[in-house]
């Protein structure tokens, strides 16, 4: 499909909008439908669409396998580490009140950090699954 001009240009045009939409879904998850999981799927969709048109090899240059394999646990680490500051403050694990002065603010920050972990892991895991499936013909 590399020779198809319409597809190539079309995908290049659509990718930035996908990223913006992913950011919207991620950040607006507090107020409307959405959140880290859905945004992570959209981010992974970017890489998959790119790979479908420009080939899996080109996609692996943008999102190398080694990076993806490290990002997946990194997201878990972000999520799990969000609970740790409250332990040092003498509060219960995952108590968000340490992140701000009033409860509402603190909670927003806590959820923001947790969702950052979720988007990282979901996007990386889906890309890793896609790579594993496209890798089968080589092995």
């Amino acid at each position: 499909m590399k020779s198809d001009v319409l597809l190539r240009i079309g995908v290049k045009l659509i990718l930035p909008y996908m990223l913006v939409f992913a950011a919207y879904v991620q950040l607006h998850g507090d107020y409307g439908p959405g959140g880290g999981f859905q945004a992570g799927v959209i981010v992974a969709g970017m890489v998959i669409v790119y790979a479908l048109v420009f080939g899996a090899k080109a996609a692996r240059q943008i999102a190398p396998v080694a990076l993806v394999e490290r990002l997946a646990p990194a997201g878990v680490l972000i999520f799990a580490a969000t609970g740790v500051p409250s332990l040092f403050a003498g509060k219960r694990y995952l108590d968000y009140s340490v992140f701000g002065h009033d409860a509402l603010h603190a909670h927003e920050w806590g959820v923001f950090l947790v969702e950052a972990g979720v988007i990282t892991t979901v996007a990386a895991t889906l890309i890793a699954i896609f790579y594993a499936l496209t890798d089968r013909e080589h092995s």
Binding site: L87, G90, Y93, L94
Partner: protein
């Protein structure tokens, strides 16, 4: 120390979980192994401290995550029962992990060794999480964490059939987990709560209008969890899974995974239904009793005719799980003590046996009984440990297995179930035959060509095997810790019952 003490229930889960995340960044098997050793031993220390806390206080140790009040937030709740289960899981884990270092290096490709430890630590996280959590849905999440990592652990086996075994377990395990969720969903429908203690206080005689969903929940939970704990005839996934998994993984799973599922069943039968609803509205105990007896006899027969020693031990596990569930079905203090103490004793015994076979595989590359001819003279310490643990499996007086069977027999006599007593003894005689086959082959045959140059494995493998074999004798002579804890838990569980 005083600052850490109130956080122990959550640290019990966090320590292996963080270690799992860190090992997943590592590419070298050795550094991941060191991390796993540190996490497993720290986890054992936490469970000991937690058990000390529980024994000191009359009320269960409770921990609310995120500071959310009890029925709404997730609660971690440790009492005499799960304090005991945490100890079992950690004891097995801390003994397996030194052994795993050498065994994994031999059995798993270099670039996958670090992943093995990640999966082991995730499995440990899941099993400890199921044990420590007092929230029904949180338990499900940990059930999935432990199951998914178990599928990977099994699939890492060298034999191609490991993939098939893993896939078979994946399908059956998913059905089991789905049934568990359906059961929890029905309970949530009837009570509006996910906290196990809160559910127990909400379902009661006043809830007759909801009695049908609550009964359906009992059926779904029973079948779902029995799939996970491999109660006969829901055990078909287990022999292949244990036989083809890497040695260290098989030893770990045999010692812990089914025990934790049994714990979950006990929790639901006695802490929820037994207290509040009266479990006898359905003939649950009779069904479990008959299936346990079938497991003890039929699985033992299968073990006798098995040529592969690892598969033989797997069938023997199905039979031994029958003893544990027999204790549940007897539902009196002696019987339940027997079931609970057998969780502990069988964990010691079966882990020793699987580790000994792992050492044999490390040296001769096979665990066929025929290939092990004469190995007793070449690997004396390993096979001595195997024999000692095998005697425990049979239930010779002076070994741990005798203690559990003693309590079970007393429990059966108190109920007046004399045929059960006879069947427990009959099943022990079958164990004599299948353990005897391996011992006979190892000691009374001429060494075969494969066995001729075998020697005892390196100390890192040998010491855990010897220590666990010694423990299985020690807990047959001094039962204050094992049977004492089990009795305390059984009295607590049955004390709350109507």
């Amino acid at each position: 120390m005083t600052a850490i003490a109130p956080h122990l229930p959550v640290l019990q889960v966090l320590v292996p979980m963080f270690a799992a995340v860190f090992t997943s960044f590592m590419r070298r098997g050795n550094s991941a192994w060191l991390m796993a050793v540190a996490a497993s031993w720290l986890s054992l220390a936490i469970s000991l401290a937690l058990l000390a806390q529980v024994l000191q206080s009359a009320a269960p140790v409770s921990y609310v995550l995120g500071g959310w009040a009890v029925p709404f937030g997730i609660e971690y709740r440790v009492d005499r029962l799960n304090g005991f289960v945490l100890l079992i899981v950690n004891l097995v884990g801390s003994m397996i992990i030194p052994f795993a270092g050498t065994s994994v290096r031999k059995e798993i490709d270099g670039n996958q060794q670090a992943w093995f430890y990640t999966m082991y630590l995730l499995c440990l996280t899941g099993l400890l999480g199921i044990s420590v959590s007092g929230d029904a849905f949180n338990v499900f999440v940990f059930l999935e964490v432990s199951s998914l990592s178990t599928y990977v652990l099994i699939a890492m086996g060298r034999h191609r059939r490991a993939l098939l075994a893993s896939y078979q377990y994946l399908i059956i395990g998913t059905i089991g987990a789905s049934f568990y969720v359906i059961g929890i969903g029905l309970l949530y429908l009837a009570t509006g709560s996910l906290n196990l203690a809160d559910i127990a206080s909400r379902i009661g005689p006043g809830m007759t209008e909801y009695s049908r969903p609550i009964l359906a929940a009992l059926a779904f939970l029973s079948v779902g969890i029995c799939l996970k704990l491999a109660l006969f005839p829901l055990h078909v996934w287990l022999p292949n899974a244990y036989a083809y998994a890497p040695s260290a993984a098989a030893a770990f799973l045999a010692g812990t995974a089914t025990k934790v599922a049994v714990y979950l069943l006990i929790r639901i039968y006695f802490s929820i239904y037994g207290v509040a609803f009266g479990i006898d509205v359905l003939p649950v105990y009779m069904v479990v009793l008959l299936l346990s007896l079938a497991a003890m006899l039929i699985a033992s027969f299968s073990a006798i005719f098995e040529a592969n020693a690892k598969r033989m031990l797997a069938y023997s596990s199905v039979a031994q799980i029958g003893y544990i569930t027999l204790g549940i079905a007897l539902a009196n203090v002696s019987g339940l003590t027997g079931g609970l103490v057998h969780m502990f004793n069988h964990a010691m015994i079966k882990t020793t046996l699987f580790m000994a076979l792992g050492a044999v595989f490390y040296r001769i590359g096979s665990v066929q009984v025929a290939d092990m001819a004469g190995i007793g003279r070449r690997m004396p310490v390993t096979m001595a440990a195997f024999t000692v643990a095998g005697l425990g499996l049979i239930g010779i007086p002076g070994t741990a297995g005798f203690i559990s069977k003693w309590y079970l027999v007393i429990g059966a006599i108190e109920r007046g179930y004399w045929p059960v007593v006879a069947l427990v003894v009959a099943s022990s005689l079958l164990a004599v035959i299948y353990v005897g086959r391996v011992v006979e082959s190892a000691y009374f045959r001429e060494p075969s060509k494969t066995v001729r140059d075998a020697t005892d494995p390196p100390a890192l493998m040998l010491v855990p095997i010897a220590v666990l074999a010694a423990l299985s004798v020690y807990f047959g002579l001094d039962t204050r810790l094992s049977a004492g804890l089990a009795r305390g838990a059984a009295e607590m569980l049955l004390g709350g019952m109507r």
